[in-house]
Symmetry: C2
Subunit: 137 residues, 2 copies
DNA sequence: TATTGTTATACTCTATAACTATA
DNA sequence: TATAGTTATAGAGTATAACAATA
């Protein structure tokens, strides 16, 4: 691997850990784990079925069942019947869940926006474009 | 928050999740959780004391005690006495731990290098520089 | 007194395998 | 048969609070 790769890869790994920390710090004051915040934020674009949601979040369906159970007990999400398939359900946000998801999203979004405030437009564009390549968009 | 922020923040969050998935996929075949792989890779620059290590990894010392216990049982890390302080210990990699840490590091590093292979030099530099600003280097 | 690391406890996240109900 | 989701189980990560030994 070339030296330029080492540098870029190192940067990306550093960035991942930094963003993970930010995510955790943003979720905690809201009484959410990072993964719960993630689920709630995904559902802002929802509702989704369990299988679909498990693919989006890269976790097993059974793991998701546990998460949804806990969030449903707190009345942040709801299992809605799927009119087209009696086996399936749609996971949606309750009013309280929507509010909390908005807060979580706003909080970490603002934190990242602060950290990137100093970046010039050209660098922003380069980063956005690079991410597009990396995530295969 | 301005539209340019929304775009950049969205990209960064996407990137974080993508890198997390890569990290998990790289660790798993080696019999390591992502966090275990992280700890082992940090120790490549080690050894470190528990308090120092907990700060590096942004977890509580007691959480780290659990992790080190498990990895020590598998003989991947060792608790070495600190000659200067009888309360403290230094966590270091065993020979097997070093080998595994190298493998983990190489695996995800190669995966990321593949994904970024198409990026031109100017974009690489922009990303590295942007990350420097974000993580406060 | 302050710090280092551990223990005890409780909860969350996670996967695998087996299961029920429906398609 | 195949798919949607759940249950049972076990292991791993996490934090809080209280603790022992040493500084």
């Amino acid at each position: 691997m070339a030296a330029q790769d080492t540098e870029l890869v190192g940067s990306l790994v550093q960035l991942m850990h930094k963003l993970q920390d930010l995510y955790a710090e943003s979720s905690r004051p809201l009484g959410l784990t990072p993964q719960q915040a993630h689920l709630l934020c995904v559902l802002l674009a929802g509702p989704f079925g369990m299988t679909e949601l498990s693919r989006i979040m890269s976790i097993e369906r059974s793991s998701l069942t546990s998460m949804v159970d806990r969030l449903e007990r707190r009345e942040l999400v709801e299992r809605l019947p799927d009119p087209a398939d009696r086996r399936a359900c749609r996971i949606g946000l309750s009013a309280a869940g929507t509010k909390l998801a908005d807060q979580a999203h706003t909080t970490y979004t603002d934190r990242i926006a602060e950290l990137t405030a100093a970046l010039p437009a050209t660098q922003r564009k380069a980063v956005v474009s690079a991410v597009g390549v990396i995530v295969g968009a």
